[in-house]
Point group: C2
Chain length 355, copies 2
């Protein structure tokens, strides 16, 4: 049974503006501290010990197809699946399972986001191996991250009984909790962060989709028929907009009888915003994470990103995010970094190409 990676790389996230742009989103940027590779490239290279590039499929949007192909020349062109428009993760996973299942009916899929950061790759690969083995045995499997803080920004999974070494039943999926519940979750030791990584045989997830998301299954069937006639691209443009826009978590994982979870602890971060970039980066004694060409004067807790050769001087400011690029500059308090989305929304509204 061969394992295929399905890298979900369709994100057009706005939270790393102005470094990220519509046609150069987060996954195409080198946002991990000390790593000059894009997050997408790092994702593919990280799993190379388990999955060779020929068995890596990347799902992205049509407008990002070219940039994604350029970023991953080792991935065969036919493994690059470009969605005509984003319909959340259930259609993305379903379509990838269909396409790969046609080529290899025994395929085991490992579904991974393209834009996460993993600090401990060896432990990460161990977790992936467990997930793959469980999926080979027919299970629907997810990865749950051992929480390190009472995070309210993630969904959680409750661990159930162990099913084998390092694998548990997942008792239930839990929406983003409030602070109090998040603290209870952390204290209990029974809850894990929902990482958005999944393992299953292509045939198994397609059956689950047929049962729980029949309208998606119908659409996928139309794509299969069209593919048989060499007409998948045309059919895609017609069918994709009609697929249910729902996440694989809500649409399938939460509904199937049994989900297994592999708990893991490998320095995971979803790199959700500039705040996270600051958290992950190395800090000076005053908590600053800045470029080598930054001069600090009575400044603490700041994050600076700027082009090489640009001198940045921070005087008397604390806890700021300062991101400079050739044509746009952002200044925002670290704790409000997510609010940069408002700026991108305004740029989109007025058709500004710098979004």
């Amino acid at each position: 049974m061969a394992t295929y990676a399905v890298i979900m790389a369709g994100g057009s996230g706005t939270r790393f503006w102005p470094a990220s742009r519509r046609l150069r989103p987060k996954q195409l940027l080198p946002l991990a501290p000390g790593d000059e590779r894009s997050l997408l490239r790092a994702t593919v290279e990280r799993i190379a010990p388990l999955v060779p590039a020929e068995r890596v499929a990347v799902v992205t949007s049509a407008e990002l197809g070219e940039a994604t192909a350029r970023e991953l020349p080792e991935v065969p062109q036919e493994n690059l699946l470009t969605e005509p428009l984003g319909r959340n993760t259930a259609p993305c996973v379903g379509w990838a399972a269909s396409v790969i299942g046609r080529r290899d009916p025994d395929a085991v899929l490992m579904v991974l986001p393209a834009d996460h950061h993993i600090a401990d790759e060896a432990r990460f690969l161990e977790v992936l191996r467990r997930g793959i083995e469980a999926a080979e045995d027919g299970a629907i499997v997810t990865v749950g991250i051992e929480p390190t803080r009472p995070e309210t920004g993630y969904g959680y999974l409750e661990k159930g009984a162990p099913v084998r070494e390092g694998v548990h039943l997942a008792r239930r999926f839990v929406e983003k909790p409030n602070r109090q519940r998040a603290e209870q979750f952390l204290a209990s030791g029974q809850f894990l962060w929902n990482s958005g990584m999944f393992f299953f045989r292509a045939s198994v997830i397609l059956e689950a989709i047929a049962e729980h998301l029949p309208s998606l299954a119908e659409g996928l069937a139309r794509l299969d028929e069209a593919a048989a006639r060499g007409r998948e691209t045309e059919e895609l443009a017609r069918t994709y907009p009609t697929l249910p826009s729902v996440s694989i978590d809500h649409g399938v994982m939460e509904k199937v009888d049994e989900v297994w979870v592999v708990p893991g602890s490998f320095g995971w971060s979803d790199l959700g915003s500039w705040t996270t970039a600051w958290e992950l980066a190395g800090h000076d004694e005053d908590g600053n994470a800045v470029t080598p060409e930054t001069l600090l004067e009575d400044a603490r807790g700041n994050y600076v990103s700027a082009p090489k050769g640009k001198l940045v001087a921070l005087v008397g400011v604390d806890d700021l995010v300062v991101v400079d690029t050739e044509d746009a500059l952002l200044v925002v308090p670290r704790e409000r970094a997510q609010d940069v989305r408002a700026i991108v929304a305004r740029l989109r509204e007025r058709g500004d190409e710098r979004r």
Copy 2:
């Protein structure tokens, strides 16, 4: 009696970094709001109704000579006096008085800083006319600005008895006061800001220098002799470093028996820092003074300067100064804008050309 302007343009101020640089200091920048001219050019054009360019002398440093000449092509080359090094304002004024006095023994000098902002030019010219008339009559004259706030950053002059319409005796010069005294000064109505503008006949100030700064007078005499032999430039390099480094205020004005002062109120600002630039500029309803290409989101009281075409986004920040240039960026709270000097000092120390 012809009036000559002596523009003191030797400043290498650091408080407008990164817009200002060692070879492009404040007076060569268009820092006045709504005015695309450099402060130096604006200074020369402002006085054109009183003094034609042929009678404008500009004293600057050797390293700024070229840039200053380029900025003022209408000023004759021989009126550009370049000091081999800065020795404060007494040598600057003394040397200019010597040079102009040689050409025109009856010359009346109007000494003006090159880097101030004047909002009301008509009222300013009125004050200058009064100063010139008084100087023609042999007085040593200064301009005192009617204070509009209890400023602790300026020296003051106390008004004495009136000597003629719009002209008073100056009772005394006062150092920068503390807050309490500044408030008393303001309330009394008897104190004026020392503007650094002076009027006197060349012969009168040279006599005063001979009396109160004999070492300066000796140096100037050596320069005169050398000039008579066509050797002033060589002598300048030898003599200038030996001249007493003292301000014309301390070295002469405070010591002569009688100084007259012309009180004025013409929207004067010494444009001392980015804070002042923010104060002078037009503000939006939230107190921001920013470039047209700045996007603000929950941001108040900020100042932004950036190159044309650069998008600047401020989110959730108040009272910041953000100055972007091609190769350097500054972020500092408005109230601490003067502390940018620390950055320039560090750049100088390490020989960084971006100072």
